[in-house]
Structures are given as C-alpha cells and as structure tokens.
Amino acid sequence: MSQEPAFSVRDLHVSYGGQPALKDVGMDIEPCKIIAVIGPSGCGKSTLLRCFNRMNDLIPGAKITGEVLYNGQDIYAKDVDPVTIRRSVGMVFQRPNPFPKSIRDNVAYGARINGYKGNMDELVERSLRGAALWDEVKDNLNKSALSLSGGQQQRLCIARAIAVEPDTILMDEPASALDPVATSKIEDLMQELKEKYTIIIVTHNMQQAARVSDKAAFLYTEVNETGKARWGILVEYDDTDRIFTNPRDKRTEDYISGRFG
C-alpha cells in the first residue's frame, strides 16, 4: 500500500448558479481509510462528496474551481472524461436507488456497460458476497430488486457499486433511511470494505462517524455580513479520535457536543 494520498483536494470552490456552496477546501485522503464528512445540514457535505466523482457536473449551474488530484491526476483537467472517473470512484446514495430490474441485472449493470468480459455469474456472486447480501438473496437472483427491504436494497446498491471494481466508494448518508439493525449491518460492512477500498462517507450522525471512521472532516456554514450568502468551509480535518476527544477548533467542539447544528 503506497502512502501517496488517494485524493488531494486543493483550493476547491463550488458554486451553484453563482451562489457559493463550498469555499477553499483542501484535504488529503489516504487510501484504504474511512473518512467521515460531518457537519450541519446544508453546509455542503454532499457537494464535497460529489466533487470526488464529478457528479456535480450533472447539476446545471454548478461550477467547480480548484484541484482534485486522484492518484496524482487532476480529475478536473480538460482532457479527463468524467465517465472514466466514475468507473473507479463508485457512489452510494442516501436513498437506496436500485433499478427496477432483477437483483442479478442490478449488480451486472455497471459491469455490462463497462464491457466486462469475465464470468458474470461469478462477478455477481463476488459482489453480493462483498456487500454481505449473498446469503439472503442467492436463491432469488431473478427477483425484482424492488422486492427487497430498504436495508437490503442499500446493500444491493453497494454490491452494484463494487461490481464495477472501483477503488473508492463514496457514500452519502447511506444509512439515514434505514433502521438500526440495517444500519449496523452497513457499518460492519464498511469495516470489511475498507480492506480494499477508500471510503468517504457523509453522515450527520455523530455516533456513526465516531464508530466507523479513521479520519473525520468537519464542515461548517459560514455566513457573510449581510446574512444573505452562506457557504460551507472545512473547519477541521483530523484523526477521528482527535476530532471527537480533543478538537482544535471551538466550532467543532460545539458541534460535536451538540451545542448547535
């Protein structure tokens, strides 16, 4: 495992239709770690996450400046095709979003469009095992994905993401729509996934961040003098232990101890 960062973010600014959403973010993300992004709602956590796989490109009016180096290469450079980035940086969304197809076809979808030549059944099984879902669905691979429970659907979405064989998985509040049992399954799964994947997870659940992550980034909303414009800044980024026991910044401490947000 190289010690080169998987991602290096430099001077990142994001705005939507001219309204700033994120200002001056800089951080390094080591491979095979779980990084939690925390902060009050609307501070730009999802926006930051979408910068890592260029999903912001799909939002009309979104403008990104600065650098996001991925394995040393700027993914916002002119000649980079976002499609290739997304094939190695997967994403799991807040609401489970399986396709209205069979379980097998869901998992195979990404591999198919990427022209996967290997044994599809093997890949499906491997991915479902990787997402700790295999035992529950192995007899029903042709059943509609929509017949699964919310927690199973979310793990299916994880299986679908890892079937593309990415090296990074972005998760945007992946457990916020799930019950506690399903949530803890996802959290356990993340610990296994971290062996192979870099994971960046957005969560507004402090306990979850403290439980699962190696490092944590705290974003906070700044407001200008008139109170009209607001945007997110990166207040503190450090080892999770440090953030939760001995943060450097007063705002982090206040947020963690529940004084606002």
Partner: protein, 319 residues
C-alpha cells in the same frame, strides 16, 4: 409508481385528479365522481346499443362479407367494408412507424439532452401543435405538403424502390402514404407530450445511479430511463394509435377516396372514418345502416386497441 405512471398517461385530467387525490377521502367528492363515472358508462352503453341497433339490418343482410368483402356498391345494395378497414389500419400503421421514433427522440431530447433553456419553449411549442384542429392539418397537407413533399417522395420511392410491392407505382400523392404522413404529423405532438411526462417521472435517483456507475448519457437512457418508462411509452403509442384510427378530416382529404385494397402504399385508398364523413350526407336506407355499421366496427377496433394498451401497460407495471 405504477399507479402514478398510469395517471400520467391520461394527461391533464389525471393531473387534476392527482392533485385532488387527498380529497378522495371526502365522501361527497367520492359520490360525485362515482355518479359522473357511472353516467359516462351509461352514455357509452347507450351509444353502443343505439348504433349497433341501427346497423343490425346491414349486418344481417351482408353477414361476414360486411367485414371481409371489398365490394362497396350502395346502388346494388352491396356493402363490403374491408377496403375501409384496411385503409384505416394501413394509414395508422404508417403514421405510427413515422411518429413513434420521432416522438420518442424528441421527448428524450427534451428531457435528457437539450440545454435547460430550450426545454420549456420547445415543449410548449409541441403542446401547441397538439391543439391545431385536424382540418388545418388536412388542408395544409393538401396544399403545402402534397405538392412540395409527398408527391416528390412518393415518386422517388416508386422509381427507386418500385420493385418492392409496397412501393409499386405509379405514385400518387393522394394515397395511404400521404394520409399516413399527415396522420403521423398529427399524432407526434400527443405522443411526444405523453412520453415527455413519462420520461420526466423517471426517478432522478435511478438516473444518478447509472451515471455514478460510469454510464454515458446514452447508456443511462438505455439502462435507467427506458426500462422504467417502457410501459408508459407503450401506452402513449397506443393512445396515439387510437387517435390515428379515428381521425376523419385529414385522412378524408389525403387518402384519395378510392375503395380498394392494394399492397402498394403509394396508391389511393379509403378509411372507415373518411367514408362515413364523405357518404353520410347523401345516404339513405340500407346505405345509412351500412355507414353506421362501419362506425360500429371502427369503435370496436378502437376499444380493442385501448384495452390492449391497458393490459400491456398493467402487465409491464406488475412485472
């Protein structure tokens, strides 16, 4: 979701009903809509009974040849409506063949590809086209499209591809083909409009899922949008077909009004709605009964198409 798409299918009225869905609980509202629904059914049944009753004499005297014979000679008391049935079906099929790919293309363009600022105006324009009276389409077809477009294309087809029976010459502009093209232009706005609504209802989450897996825009459309929208699109096409089958004036102006069955779509023909419109004025006795009978058959075909559309949509939504 299935229920929602079904509503979208039927357009504006359904949108109103969806907004009123909360009030469905209100018993007064339920009673009023119940009565209205019942009234529609009663009127429909009444129409079927009266028209069928009027047509019974000709069904009796002609038997199956009413549907399978092409001999339509009112003066000799012969009423074989096959040429009209054939013409209606052929012109509608031509219309679908042209209209479906174009409508779907425009709808996809407007929902997935076009820059945001042209989506609204173009969609509005398409909806406006749906509001143009069909007689205007017909006249425009005869005076503009026929000399400038239909006749040259038909001639070209018969010259270059005349060895294929369906393009056999001599080509006339007033033909199955001409009527089909104008029908296509007439149903494109409706199919486009419905498809657009259906495509817009595809969950953003699923589109993002496809993008996040490294899909290009086209792969996203194929993998996430079309499977979701399939049932609705089929429904929209069937509704367009229903429109085409029943369209009267534009076809009457363009089909050539000759009761014949030809393999070539470049020859003049006739249609059910057109023959009713053209002959009803001077018809008497059995002739009237026969024209009403043609109407009953047309009604039957339209019902079958619509029911088939529903069944298809339901079955797809189920699976």
């Amino acid at each position: 979701m299935g229920e929602r798409r079904d509503l979208v299918l039927r357009g504006g009225l359904q949108r109103l009903m969806k907004r009123g869905a909360g009030r469905l609980a209100d018993p007064v509202f339920a009673v009023v809509t119940g009565i209205a629904g019942l009234a529609v059914l009663i009127i429909l049944a009444y129409m079927v009974v009266v028209t069928t009753y009027t047509a019974v004499p000709v069904f009796r005297s002609q038997g199956w040849s009413f549907i399978f014979s092409t001999d339509w000679s009112p003066s000799e008391g012969k009423f074989g409506a096959f040429a009209f049935i054939y013409g209606t079906i052929i012109t509608s099929l031509i219309a679908l063949l042209i209209a479906v790919p174009l409508s779907l293309g425009v709808a996809l363009f407007l929902t997935e590809i076009a820059p945001r600022w042209i989506r609204g105006p173009v969609a509005y324009l398409v909806d406006l086209l749906a509001a143009v009276p069909s007689v205007v389409y017909g006249l425009w077809g005869v005076f503009v499209l026929l000399p400038g477009f239909l006749q040259p294309i038909a001639t070209w087809l018969s010259v270059k591809l005349g060895w294929i029976p369906i393009f056999a010459g001599p080509a006339t502009g007033l033909s199955f083909f001409g009527a089909g093209v104008v029908l296509a232009i007439m149903i494109i706005p409706i199919i486009t409009s419905l498809c657009r609504e259906i495509l817009k209802a595809v969950p953003v989450g699923e589109k993002n899922a496809a993008f996040a897996l490294g899909a290009t825009r086209w792969e996203m459309i194929r993998g996430a949008v079309l499977p979701r929208a399939k049932a609705g699109i089929i429904g929209a096409v069937m509704l367009g077909l229903g429109r085409a089958l029943g369209e009267t004036i534009a076809v009457a102006l363009l089909v050539g009004s000759r009761a014949q069955v030809t393999a070539s779509i470049l020859q003049p023909g006739y249609s059910m709605a057109a023959v009713i419109a053209n002959q009803f004025q001077e018809a008497t006795g059995d002739h009237v009964s026969a024209l009403v009978g043609v109407g009953v058959v047309l009604f039957g075909i339209t019902i079958i198409v619509n029911v088939a559309a529903r069944v298809l949509v339901w079955r797809m939504v189920e699976s």
